[in-house]
């Protein structure tokens, strides 16, 4: 899981970079059958700070990314771990007919392309 940083985090004035260049872990998983939780772990503190301050990773922006209304996503900041976490309601209760991801482990995609 520990890989070398791809690049040092750029100062905030620099052009946007994709989240995938700053984060070493971008994952999703159910938190029980009714909620989905997204964990982002960054390579280093500067990348975390930059991501945490970015407009694209505010709670409502992430809600929008997942087709949810403002106020539906909760954000948690864990600077000591260089991690951000978002918890969202699932569209379908896990495992009900029509659900496409019972464990919720493949819902991280929309985050990968976020520009920071």
């Amino acid at each position: 899981m520990h890989t070398a940083p791809l690049s040092p985090a750029a100062p905030p004035s620099s052009p946007p970079v994709p989240l995938s260049a700053l984060a070493r872990v971008v994952r999703s998983k159910n938190a029980g059958p009714t909620q989905l939780t997204l964990d982002l772990f960054f390579h280093e503190a500067a990348g975390y700070e930059r991501a945490a301050a970015s407009a694209a990773l505010q709670a409502d922006a992430v809600a929008g990314l997942y087709g949810l209304a403002a106020g539906e996503a909760r954000r948690f900041e864990l600077p000591a771990l260089q991690a951000l976490k978002f918890t969202l309601p699932r569209r379908v209760v896990a495992g009900s007919p029509g659900d496409g991801d019972v464990y919720g482990a493949q819902q991280h995609g929309p985050l990968l392309g976020v520009e920071i």
Partner: protein, 466 residues
């Protein structure tokens, strides 16, 4: 005297050595890695705990009463931990028997446990805890406003609750204490709170609930809190001020960062963890490296509740399920697939009427999550069409009729006039068990815990249950 009393009479929190807790498995039945278990046993644990259940695999297991883990491997794992615990003469605690922890799961696990004991000629005292919650108890709680959904769980109608095939409650430390009071060598519980498996004996031995629950919360996943994470046995050494974590796999390291990060895993809130007995506050927890392999944890806060809450889970049958598997590799059809599926469904409703539902999963075009148009596959897609009907015969009939009508459906611009689908399998429509859904994922307040959880003491004599 049996293993529980031996432990309770020989150990006291703060009076001598730390308590060594061996978490042998976080998912009993999928193959306990043996080298790490052996290393753990060499450390002379005071008790061995295994978690066997989870809600993750979905409502089918709770609803149908079947185990997710293959019985042959469950048997193997039970033989390993039972043999180890009896030889070391220490308690063995297994929680959430048979994946979902309802009566049929508890019974199936008990049968395998006795089968192993019969083969080996083992005898021991056993306590079982049944975790089934009567629908009437849930209905009463609902009417009295004591039922609270966890997350955005739809409000269940009374008939939905009555229709649940199984409803279970996650027993907590208060219930496992009652079971340990019968002095078992082995405690086998139906649906149990993961933390209760590992925290109950520490609490009975005088360790504070907060620290015991925090330790339990981490070790119930064995070495998942390490880097790299894994399924190897995990040892916790508990003292009145905190606990030390050490993986029994020498290559899986419990570091302050990896242990602290584990608080995020599958957890809606990384700071506050709700347990039946109260709320753990992890904001103030401290993680310190003892060396490159071991971490010490201290200082989590704990706010006890006056009365324990009860988390309940219930699953109801939706119907029988059949699936149709096919590929589409025609670029014209891929552009209009949603419209074509809707048109074929309309046709099939007339040909095979009945109360069936169809749920299309179009892989390559957003089956896993909604995809923007530019990312949808234009050259090949996989179809899993899910049909659910009250009877298996109808689900299968609809799948077959749907297949033939989709295969030969004409649509504007069609050039591949010989057939719309590629089949990898014959037959390409398959029976796919029964479909269930979660109706209950709720917290019940002021639950009659002693009434709900039935504790039974047995003697197992060379595999025969008495």
């Amino acid at each position: 005297m049996h293993a529980t009393q031996r432990l309770l009479q020989s150990h006291r929190a703060g009076a001598g050595e730390p308590l060594r807790v061996l978490a042998a498995s976080g998912q009993l039945g999928y193959g306990i890695p043996e080298p790490a278990l052996r290393r753990g046993l060499e450390r002379q644990p005071h008790f061995i705990g295994c978690d066997m259940g989870s809600i993750d695999p979905g409502p089918y297991y709770l609803g149908s009463g079947t185990m997710a883990a293959p019985p042959a491997v469950v048997r193997r794992d039970l033989a390993l931990v039972l043999g180890a615990a009896l030889e070391a003469r220490v308690p063995l605690v297994i929680g959430s028997a048979g994946t979902a922890g309802a009566r049929p799961h508890l019974q199936a696990t008990l049968d395998l446990l006795c089968e192993v004991a019969r083969e080996q000629g083992w005898s021991f005292r056993l306590a079982t805890v049944a975790s089934d919650v009567p629908a009437q108890t849930v209905l009463a709680a609902r009417r009295e406003g004591r039922l609270q959904p966890i997350g955005p769980m739809p409000e269940p109608a009374e008939d939905d609750i009555r229709a649940c095939a199984h409803i279970v409650g996650q027993c907590g430390t208060e219930t496992l204490e009652r079971a340990f009071a019968t002095d078992p060598d082995v405690l086998l519980a139906g649906r149990a709170c993961d933390t209760a498996i590992f925290a109950t004996l520490p609490v009975m031995l005088g360790y504070a609930p907060g620290i015991s629950l925090h330790m339990a919360k981490i070790v119930e996943c064995t070495s998942l809190c390490c880097t790299p994470g894994g399924r190897d046995a995990m040892l916790a050494k508990l003292d009145p001020e905190g606990f030390e974590l050490e993986s029994m796999n020498p290559d899986a390291h419990a570091t302050p960062a990896s242990v602290a990060a584990h608080a995020l895993y599958e957890q809606a809130d990384p700071f506050e963890v709700e347990e039946p007995q109260g709320t753990l506050d992890l904001r103030i927890a401290r993680y310190t490296a003892l060396d490159a392999h071991r971490t010490r944890v201290e200082g989590a806060g704990f706010r006890a509740r006056p009365r324990p809450t009860l988390k309940i889970e219930g699953a109801a049958r939706v119907g029988a399920r059949a699936v149709l598997l096919a590929g589409v590799a025609d670029p014209v059809l891929l552009r209009v697939l949603p419209e074509v599926l809707a048109a074929v469904e309309h046709k099939v409703r007339a040909l095979a009427p009945g109360p069936w539902q169809m749920h299309p999963h179009v892989y390559g075009q957003g089956a896993v999550r909604p995809l923007p148009a530019a990312q949808r596959s234009a050259h090949e897609a996989g179809l899993v069409l899910e049909f659910v009907a009250p009877e298996a015969a109808l689900a299968r009939t609809v799948a077959a009729v749907f297949k033939q009508n989709l295969l030969h459906h004409g649509y504007p611009g069609r050039v591949a006039t010989a057939g719309n689908l590629a089949f990898a399998l014959t037959p390409s429509e398959l029976d796919a068990h029964e479909a269930f859904r979660f109706v209950l994922y709720h917290v019940m307040h002021d639950a009659p815990l002693d009434e709900i959880f039935s504790v039974q003491a047995h003697e197992v004599v060379r595999g025969e249950l008495h």
